[in-house]
Symmetry: C2
Subunit: 380 residues, 2 copies
DNA sequence: ACATTTTATTTACTAAGTAAAAAAAATAAA
DNA sequence: TTTATTTTTTTTACTTAGTAAATAAAATGT
């Protein structure tokens, strides 16, 4: 919720997350704070060990006292990220800048209590593999596939996990003896993009995750926007085709039923196409299978329509897609792009960036970790 | 852009805009500031004359030192509001709390320069009618039907007025010797709802204006959200029916072509129905005219779909409709409501308030004035 | 050696807030 | 009628986070 640039200190940290290394005078320029203030703040942060002076000699020589570059000491703080879903529960440890140092899958568990116990057992292994002392870990971020009350740290409901009112952050925080935060996947991904990813210098953007279902989250005014009661970004249940297939939500033709990974796999199967992921379906389409091509085109067009609505409503600077299903560059993305381009005002066409990328391994738990990183950095 | 509650002073003013009158201790509670801070701030504002102590005796008697209520002195500051469109240019003067003291239509003019001259001539009449001394007027807010760069105070383009790059706020500000701000209608209406209207205690809401076309604006995190380049809220050009009628924007089936007042009047005419406003069309529908009923139902359903998209994307607390076309309670509103109810997740159904209201005379220029009020109050 | 230039720090100050003690203004009880 | 009690408001002394302007530091150019 809170912007991370209210004080000179936060602004300094934010600027260094964006720019890798900066001199004090550059920091003053970027943050708008006075040079005196930057001296004060950087002294403070150098003492804490969060910043280091860059001993590398100047590249550009000239008159005047040479500037000393400052950068974040990535090893000053580490964060744990856990992404809980019905299929797997990957766990990672990252540094201050979102680099993954080690990964560790948590074995499948039926109940929250068992899962927490398994997480506790996995934690020392993760620390050992990363070579990180326990004392340097500043928090754990958790994503849960479901409806989360992030203020209270409770998973209100998860159909996938069959959870109801599970106090996730309390359980895991106590188990690992760390400050803990929970959120839903989509919000975590947006925070990750803002801090560690492609959105570092965007104030207003939307991040869309293409997985079994379709989730999204918005940054507005440089802050995560959760909506009135945490429901912002629910684009999976926008009605695209009122006469379409029945959705789990009880209505027909939701975006999820047309372009969600789960629905597409089911539809492919119904067409007699054996696919394990969208890569296979795209492959069928390339080889001339009309069913595959139709499914992918329809799905892309549906997603494109929803994004076009979103662009008209919110005018974001960028839309960042994260592809967890392996569509890669193919029929689906092309249909999505084309539909967007055909459905938005010329005014928006030039000013809205649309970016796809394939989710790398550890992407979700790394996003989870970014929540903890955000909370830690803004609390300094 | 900026929230209006950053300092104890702004928070005090905001609380008093919402609650009419409050004691110092209530203010401390509401704003979260310390009692000491409230003493300091209220002293300051009392000296300036913005606040007055309420001399009315306590209603609730009890032990302890009785509290003294504070309220905003509505007559401390007045604002001018002007709403510029192709059909009329109404001008009003309001007090600090958005009450309209006088209205004055500005005669039609072809060019911006002529219009500004006419505004200058109307200004003294307005002041005289309201009985307000020039010195108490703190600013002028202007809305223009078109694309506005509110930072620079320039109307970039208005098809309706045939304007391009007109420095509206500079021209009018100089003519009236007042600080001046410009924005588009939809944004002004949202600011008006937040300060003077139905949205006083909402942080996240959308305001939708039903006029010749359909415009909207959002408050998020308690601030007006303009989008990446000022285009947020352009719901009029959401594609509802890709095979629909051609829109001015070059694409087909935009919401404006189905539910905009202009389009509906044209469609009614094409059906041989002589209507001057939507009231007439609703009347035809009530009397059993199937064309009228069909037009209104289709329009309401189209608007409802767009709102449903918006609810899923942004999860606002409220949607405030302002009806400038005279639909009143009839087929159109019913269709809108029903479509929304049928198209949003149950989760949102209970938590999203949908409110319609008829625009009262002077509504648009009063909204324009609220921009000036906002800027004045946040600058204190 | 000394002037010049650019970067960083120090100094002295201000603005905006807080906690805790004190004062003010009423009612309730002895 | 005092005096105690209660609640609201103000005062006092202090803290935090910032700034402008003077100064120091560290290089290059003359």
């Amino acid at each position: 919720m809170k912007p991370y640039f209210r004080s000179a200190k936060s602004a300094t940290i934010a600027a260094l997350l964006q720019h890798e290394q900066l001199s004090r005078s550059e920091l003053a320029e970027i943050t708008g704070a006075s040079a005196a203030s930057i001296t004060e703040v950087s002294q403070n942060l150098l003492e804490q060990g969060l910043l280091v002076e860059q001993p590398i000699p100047q590249l550009v020589k000239g008159r005047g006292r040479p500037s000393v570059h400052l950068r974040l000491q990535a090893s000053h703080a580490y964060f744990i990220g856990i992404s809980i879903s019905e299929t797997a529960t990957p766990m990672v440890i990252t540094d201050l800048q979102g680099h993954i140092l080690a990964r560790q899958p948590v074995p499948f568990c039926k109940t929250p209590v068992e899962l927490v116990a398994a997480i506790r057992r996995s934690y020392p292994i993760l620390l050992r593999d990363a070579g990180v002392p326990r004392s340097r870990v500043r928090g754990v971020g958790i994503t849960v596939a479901g409806i989360v009350d992030s203020d209270l740290g409770v998973c209100r409901y998860s159909a996938a996990l069959n959870w109801r009112d599970v106090p996730v952050s309390e359980l895991i925080g106590k188990a690992l003896k760390l400050p803990a935060w929970v959120d839903n996947d989509a919000n975590a991904v947006a925070v990750g993009e803002k801090f560690f990813g492609r959105a570092r210098d965007s104030l207003n953007f939307t991040s869309i995750v293409l997985g079994r279902t379709i989730g999204s989250a918005h940054y507005m005014h440089g802050m995560l926007y959760r909506g009135h009661d945490g429901g912002a970004g629910e684009i999976g249940h926008i009605t695209i085709d009122p006469k379409g297939a029945l959705c789990r939500c009880g209505r027909n033709g939701c975006l999820d039923t047309i372009a969600g990974g789960g629905a597409l796999r089911a539809a492919a199967k119904a067409c007699g196409l054996a696919v394990s992921g969208m890569r296979d379906l795209e492959e069928f389409a390339v080889q001339g299978n009309t069913d595959a091509a139709r499914l992918l085109r329809t799905a892309g067009a549906a997603l494109g329509s929803a994004v076009a609505y979103l662009v008209h409503i919110n005018n974001p600077q960028c839309i960042f897609f994260t592809d967890m299903e392996g569509f890669e560059n193919g029929v689906f993305r092309t249909a999505t792009r084309q539909t967007i381009e055909n459905s938005i005002l010329p005014r928006f066409l030039g000013s809205t960036e649309i970016l796809f990328s394939d989710a790398e391994p550890g992407f979700l738990p790394r996003s989870a970790a970014s929540i903890a990183a955000f909370e830690y950095l803004t609390s300094l």
